[in-house]
Symmetry: C3
Subunit: 636 residues, 3 copies
Amino acid sequence: MGFEFVHLAEFAWFKMEPQEGRFDFNWLDRVVSLCTKYHLKVLLCTPSATTPTWMRVNYPETFVMDGHYIRAENGTRGLESMVNPKFRGYVQRIVAEMAKRYGQNSNVMGWQIDNEPGAVSDYSPSSQEAFRTWLKNKYKTIDALNTAWGAAFWSQWFNNFDQVIIPNTNLVGWWGNNPHALLDFKRYSADAQAEFLDLQAGTLRNYISKSQFVTTNYTAVCTGSDPNRTTKLDFAAYTAYPNGGSDNIGESGFRLGNSDVVLFASEYYKSVGGISGVLEIQPGPVNWGSYNPLLLPGTVRLWLYHSFAAGGKIACSYRFRQILYGAEQYHAGVIQTDGVTPSQGGKDYMQFMKEITELRKQFTPGAKMPAKLAARSTALLWNVENYWSIDRQKQTGQWNTWDYPVKFLKTARALGAPVDVIQETADLSKYKLLIVPAYEMADSALVKKWTDYVAKGGNLVVTCRTATKDRRGYFWEGETAMPISNLIGAHISQTDMLSSYGKGDILMNSNHYSWHSWADLLVPDNTTGVLATYNNQFYKGKAAVVKHRIGKGSVTYIGVDTDDSKLEKDLLRQIYKDAGATTEDYPPGVFVYWRNGFYTALNYSSENYAVNVPDNAKVLIGEKILKPSGVLVWTE
Amino acid sequence: MGFEFVHLAEFAWFKMEPQEGRFDFNWLDRVVSLCTKYHLKVLLCTPSATTPTWMRVNYPETFVMDGHYIRAENGTRGLESMVNPKFRGYVQRIVAEMAKRYGQNSNVMGWQIDNEPGAVSDYSPSSQEAFRTWLKNKYKTIDALNTAWGAAFWSQWFNNFDQVIIPNTNLVGWWGNNPHALLDFKRYSADAQAEFLDLQAGTLRNYISKSQFVTTNYTAVCTGSDPNRTTKLDFAAYTAYPNGGSDNIGESGFRLGNSDVVLFASEYYKSVGGISGVLEIQPGPVNWGSYNPLLLPGTVRLWLYHSFAAGGKIACSYRFRQILYGAEQYHAGVIQTDGVTPSQGGKDYMQFMKEITELRKQFTPGAKMPAKLAARSTALLWNVENYWSIDRQKQTGQWNTWDYPVKFLKTARALGAPVDVIQETADLSKYKLLIVPAYEMADSALVKKWTDYVAKGGNLVVTCRTATKDRRGYFWEGETAMPISNLIGAHISQTDMLSSYGKGDILMNSNHYSWHSWADLLVPDNTTGVLATYNNQFYKGKAAVVKHRIGKGSVTYIGVDTDDSKLEKDLLRQIYKDAGATTEDYPPGVFVYWRNGFYTALNYSSENYAVNVPDNAKVLIGEKILKPSGVLVWTE
Amino acid sequence: MGFEFVHLAEFAWFKMEPQEGRFDFNWLDRVVSLCTKYHLKVLLCTPSATTPTWMRVNYPETFVMDGHYIRAENGTRGLESMVNPKFRGYVQRIVAEMAKRYGQNSNVMGWQIDNEPGAVSDYSPSSQEAFRTWLKNKYKTIDALNTAWGAAFWSQWFNNFDQVIIPNTNLVGWWGNNPHALLDFKRYSADAQAEFLDLQAGTLRNYISKSQFVTTNYTAVCTGSDPNRTTKLDFAAYTAYPNGGSDNIGESGFRLGNSDVVLFASEYYKSVGGISGVLEIQPGPVNWGSYNPLLLPGTVRLWLYHSFAAGGKIACSYRFRQILYGAEQYHAGVIQTDGVTPSQGGKDYMQFMKEITELRKQFTPGAKMPAKLAARSTALLWNVENYWSIDRQKQTGQWNTWDYPVKFLKTARALGAPVDVIQETADLSKYKLLIVPAYEMADSALVKKWTDYVAKGGNLVVTCRTATKDRRGYFWEGETAMPISNLIGAHISQTDMLSSYGKGDILMNSNHYSWHSWADLLVPDNTTGVLATYNNQFYKGKAAVVKHRIGKGSVTYIGVDTDDSKLEKDLLRQIYKDAGATTEDYPPGVFVYWRNGFYTALNYSSENYAVNVPDNAKVLIGEKILKPSGVLVWTE
């Protein structure tokens, strides 16, 4: 079929350690040697996401407890208490055994640790203890914790660390928990997850060859783990399940899947180790969608090209053969249940492998990003801590915490901009535009970094909810978003929100835009320009978007979240234009990427799209009229 | 009021055994002797569905635990741990005491065991132990269990039976449990229920006269118990609550109730002991409906006639007098709260009793089914295990696991066919048509039985999802539904499903039909005819329904589940026609039955219906223009 | 800002008792002395609604358990087991300490006990024990309890009180619990709450000056507690949060809030101690609404005037300054996060305080209610026990247990009537009209009181569901609502209900009205008039509303609950007219009150309203064209 490697042993702990302390690798030796014989590299997985039955029977304390203090059981995935010392010991032992056996095998190219690490909330005694230790390390004194958590509120004050327990949202309404404690519980959980991954990575590195890489496979939309907290992995990879029964774009959208999945994940996970890749792409209908339609033929290939175009270094299917039994028996494979016939997804893979082999021949190292693209090079600042903080206190059901920043990624991409998702530590100098969407928690150092970026000529877009809190989740003792008022040249006097039926009207350049989720009422400073105003409600005429110049650059503050992102798109277009860059206007679901000299156009929409390819371009794959699920690759 | 028997002692354990081991039957003696005096037969019930408070206090372990391992309490119904040895002992003792006292009483006509036995899921230690014992008996070796459960998946492998626990869907998402283990848990639960009923039946039979029958009262829609698993009951009866606040057919439908209830139950429970009957029919509004409207006058009589027409041997109301207190105080009785005035439902009963007494006089034994009806005699194959298996893995929210087979029962009835619901062991030779709807689990012996039936001239209708799995719930190592591909003369290449907004189009004989739930794409063999094709989506032109001839008979495979059953109805009509039978065209809610020489027409619709009665027919009850809730009985 | 008092120490237990038995009031001394210095009175709160962490650590048994027997934790509000003796001891000690220190401080004007006491359901061992004790006190013998609970049903009979446990609706479906036991659990819970408040009031009164008042702050809509069960409080106050993200009236309704909140609470809590007031009014958006919009400027002032107009003696905001941290950080204050700038709500307060100071100058003691208003003086009979009973067994999802009686309050107010919400013990003689809406549980003494009221010239409106049960929740052994059949001069033959799609039609004086929730079919006595009849359904022509004359008065029975209350409004208007009173016709959301010589008009609607003020009236506040959120105060 053209595959170059296989992905093995992910959930096979019981096969490698059928009884406590008794190891059996004969079966795996045989598989690895068959792979070697047939020139298939091997990506080995550590098996820590599913524990054998003997672990549950002998050491029930190695499982998480949920918020009702009910202990999990084995038989499914990812419900182990990662902070339990006994569990960590057993994990280290099996990982060491695997590493000793395969760490020097030149056919083993690398390791995946665990599976879709999700930083699951764990209320077990092991986790209570670990949380207290984490807090002691962070705060040193109990009064520091009391202050950081605002523990004076509702008599929550602690006399010592031993009194602390995990804040449990299951025992009171969502409104009744301490948000700072919850934020720290999220941080602790993400740290515990990262520590667990690093523990395994460290164990592996004691034994494995330097030529073997170490990674893990986060879910594409990952709101529990923070991939940036690990220190011992070579890079972060992801899994991609774009089609689980959602409508998406146009009449074929339910077959083509959600285009946000690879779009976001491919950029986000690059922010960890510089490169990324996809370790699972669904090869057809799955077992867990609200409904599970057939994919339009070519859809799997579309996703694979999307991952490639966005810089992916590795791609893998899940799974090879549709399994005859088990919870995932309805999950498609690249091979059907008979064990020999490729599925439609399998055919897509085969075509992709054939084509990518051809593309490799066309590859010229050292290609530089074309000037037209570099001129609109854009960064989107992301910190999962803001997701944790906002999503706990959305203040309106209209607010979609994950979609909100992603809409800026989509909008910039629709204008033809290359967009990196970056972390706070990133070098900003190479970006023409920096988007900071709903970046709730900030501090003065960060605001200074943004200000410096602008002063040196950068174009900054800051949006509502940004810098409204400090890193503890406190409001400022001052006006709303106090640290950025000088930066944006305006003051946020009040914030409004409407019901799902509400219709807010905005006016900008004689165009009307609608909103109902979030609206900051802005009072601009004298030197600040007003780009858009509210056009109804009792505060008609108040500013909604303002523009402020600092040094050589500009800051645009967008105080409103519009229903269809049109205002945001018109603003970004103008900013690119003002910065001397041209823009494109790709319809929803059409993406054009440039990577290492290759242009790739992708079509997740339900309509044909005529790609604007220069006459002198060399089309390598596909046709200029891009059909739904179509891919076009060319060089210029 | 015309009643001929009463139904006693159902929930009266505490009255018969007010303290542990102290029995008091004086009150019941008095009731039974009053009944005898007034020529009312007695149907006695065993009280095992509600336990006295002393049982909860002294033996809390006799109650079930839910999936959160919380112990049930007494005070409601049916939450006892039927496999708990202590509970079984107490049940045997009270049943023996009752049997000794009334088993030879000639006024006691029979016994109802328990109440609405539902095979409730029980996660208590008693049930964990019983489940392990059940598995040992079934599998003998742990490796056999491991194989049957596909325990290699997600490291679920067991080293011995002591390690097995009940698969608990409450601790993980619905997608995360082993379907084979869940299927066995359903089987175990149904076996435990059957065993519990048989235990009581056996105890009764130690003492009672052969003239007393033994039965139980399953709910009409019963998806937990499997009535065919008992061996010691004379027959299976049911309870009927057609009106609990649903819309049903037309503007009066919410008063007339759901016509599927008696329709299905009356046929289904006959499949156990050859006869059936209804032990509870609601006599008016109940206490538990989403709303509880008045019944259209005559509705209770309609339901009684429905049960009679479908072959019912016994009918009983629940309850006699509307109770002044308790959880069911709003549940109507045939007598109102004052204790003397018949309710509207009570008047319906009185009229029915008067009329049935008249009909008895018209009864001539030995009537043979008219040839016209016999020519379209139909069987619908049912196995509750398929419900268990499919409902766990529906693959689309559009699929309604219970309604799907029932729609074929309704459709055949609307064409005028007498329809038996049958089990796999039934003799097929007397049926012109055999319908096998979504019969997921099959084996070669069963497929051979179907093939033989067809070869000898039978007309078989097989539908989507049939034979897609073996009895363990495994897919076949081969193509989808491998065992029936020769039978249906086609191959299922893929399966599609649409969202609730989706509109699939089918073409058959220039007629269009719509679907959105399930669609098998069929590849017919050379000798197989295509009856209907998909008319949109990317696979337009693929076969949706095929017809294959084997020997003297035919097999029609219906790969699609249409929105309004019109395609299915048009197909069945043609099959009857091809088999030389005539058909009727009754509108939804109108049913015509023939039983022992009597024709009965029933109207659950909101419109008048003119029944086509031959001129020479003798109308015994009602008028030819059948009003909503109306009944017409005649002989020809 | 004009404030005259502050509200202190509500949740500050840990600050006053930072470690078990170690008290620290220095900080509070300082606050109180600052208040004294700046002429601010102090309302002190007991801190029992939030316990310090040391209580959770040392005495976990002082917390409630939920219906899954999971123990609550500290850190939120109101989850203490109020019946736990240890908890009561600690509460008494802290309250005594506070009372000793501030009970004679002349700047402390009064005490608020606890916070929003809600009679939370508690399934802890402490509560199980207390419930048994409560039952023993009520029933004396176990047989009395068995009878009252109808324990014969489903074998619930108890041999002794030790066998009784709290009825747990979490372990069975809602339909499966004993309604009489649940009713007693509600009564017990309300008694426990009242006892807990009285315990604190008693402790306070051991130390405090007679000039200090004692109250508590119930939620405005309070369905758990029964404020009439306390005996030691001076009066009952409430908290008012009219705006939590609901649509309300017209396009600005989502900003103006729900007008029912102050409307109902201000009358209801007066029924306890003769006076009432509001101890918390939201000063802007809150943290817990489904969305949290800006209030229309003036809205807080509107609510304050509403409370004033309805007789309020005290009003307080919650909270002063928007807090920077904690679960309520998004909850507006009268001062913004900077600690100095008044919010819009703060400005509203300031304006109100300025205006009320002016109004005080206009106050003339001894004003008598104008005759026009006295002529339509109305009482609405309320007993929260009916809420408990009906809401458990609504019989239809269309029935809204709280809204139903409130609609009569609104309707009478819209006709210009002053309406008192009263308890059974109230003197009825001063009311021209007494409304008894869905008063489910009654006895002969109460019915006699109603009858006497009518005989002496009163006009009684009785509605559906009234007197259908005795005080135990039993139906009568007789016809529906037996005790009132002579009173209303009619018999309720049956009760109907429709689905949410249903449309019932009523005819009265050639006008049509629609219903779908509840309909009693009435059979009037010979001397009883029929005012309205059902105009569709199978019982077309049956009476829906009847009028019966007794002595000098009249009884109108309204058997139907109409969709928009128009029938009810037309009926009330006619009754006032027949009683010689004039009526007004205020649109929804417009209220006009008379209090101590002042007329106040309030506008919660989204339209301007021209208030009909006599030419000779003296307008004190506002304008005659009342804008949304507008207030008009005048004297005549």
